[in-house]
Point group: C2
Chain length 152, copies 2
DNA sequence: AGTATACATTTGTATATACAAATATTGTAT
DNA sequence: ATACAATATTTGTATATACAAATGTATACT
């Protein structure tokens, strides 16, 4: 399906705009499916990302600023995002003893268990979402996306 | 920049997950820049998309359902989205005379003027956002994205 | 020490979004 | 005609998000 078909665009778009729009549209399709899976586990995408970041810390706690820095999604109000996860007891928070301005956030055993349960499911869904591409095409796509990001 | 670097991921991801995440992350970078431009013109991304869809109608009005169908973004509550645009006088709404359940939405001259003003700016921004890729690479990227969408 | 500045997080508030239920209109079957 | 289902939109409500201002803590300067 071309992006013109998907959006019912008749006017001819320049290649650059077409690519930018296509990227966002395609991404949105994947995001929605992913959000659907997470919802079954009472998680939103930003919440899931926070959990994943915390697991990546391998035992070390992370500050709020650290989490924000690594979020894929818009990251405003990480405080309240973490509040939700605390209420579910998937993370815990304490004031950093060395610097009481900072806060140390850590994933709990329950949080790790949820992620562990989700791991095969997210892997499976991701695989399904990109199954239209061969391995070689996946490598190419990754390379192009990485190149795009160097732009910053 | 690889996606592992961007997200500070040390664990090795399978190629499929990596690609899915990379796609969403890269897309988000573009989206944010685009939203920044629109904001200067008091527009959100969904609002901009509605205007663009209406312009694409070339004079024919569109129903709410028609707009929803064509939206790139999540499309819940198109009613209130259109309300915002009406308040700015960039679109107008009237009940469809043939079927009074339906509503006919049309872009105004002011709305068209705003889009016209934005056209070169969005084109320029899109071009800048993908400038790291050659024309050939852009074509390849588009092809891969189109292929990915056939999955539905 | 006292004051100003920078830093990290939290809170207030306005707006946006998601989801379900409600409303209004039309089409269909009896 | 009447009742019932289908369609298109709107509204209520809870939650999420964005942005700015506020809070509390640490650092630097005099």
């Amino acid at each position: 399906m071309t992006i013109e078909e998907a959006l019912h665009i008749s006017a001819k778009l320049d290649l650059e705009s077409k690519t930018a729009i296509n990227l966002q549209y395609t991404s949105r399709l994947l995001e929605e499916k992913f959000a659907g899976l997470l919802k079954e586990y009472d998680l939103t995408t930003p919440q899931f990302n926070v959990l994943r970041i915390l697991r990546g810390q391998k035992g070390n706690p992370a500050s709020l600023a650290c989490i924000q820095e690594r979020m894929v999604d818009r990251n405003s109000n990480t405080t309240r995002l973490v509040d939700k996860l605390i209420k579910k007891e998937w993370v815990k928070r304490r004031v950093c003893p060395d610097n009481r301005r900072m806060v140390e956030i850590e994933i709990t055993a329950e949080g790790l268990a949820v992620l562990k349960q989700l791991d095969p499911l997210t892997r499976e869904l991701n695989a399904k979402n990109v199954e239209a591409l061969t391995e070689e095409e996946l490598v190419t796509l990754n390379t192009l996306l990485d190149k795009l990001k160097t732009n910053e």
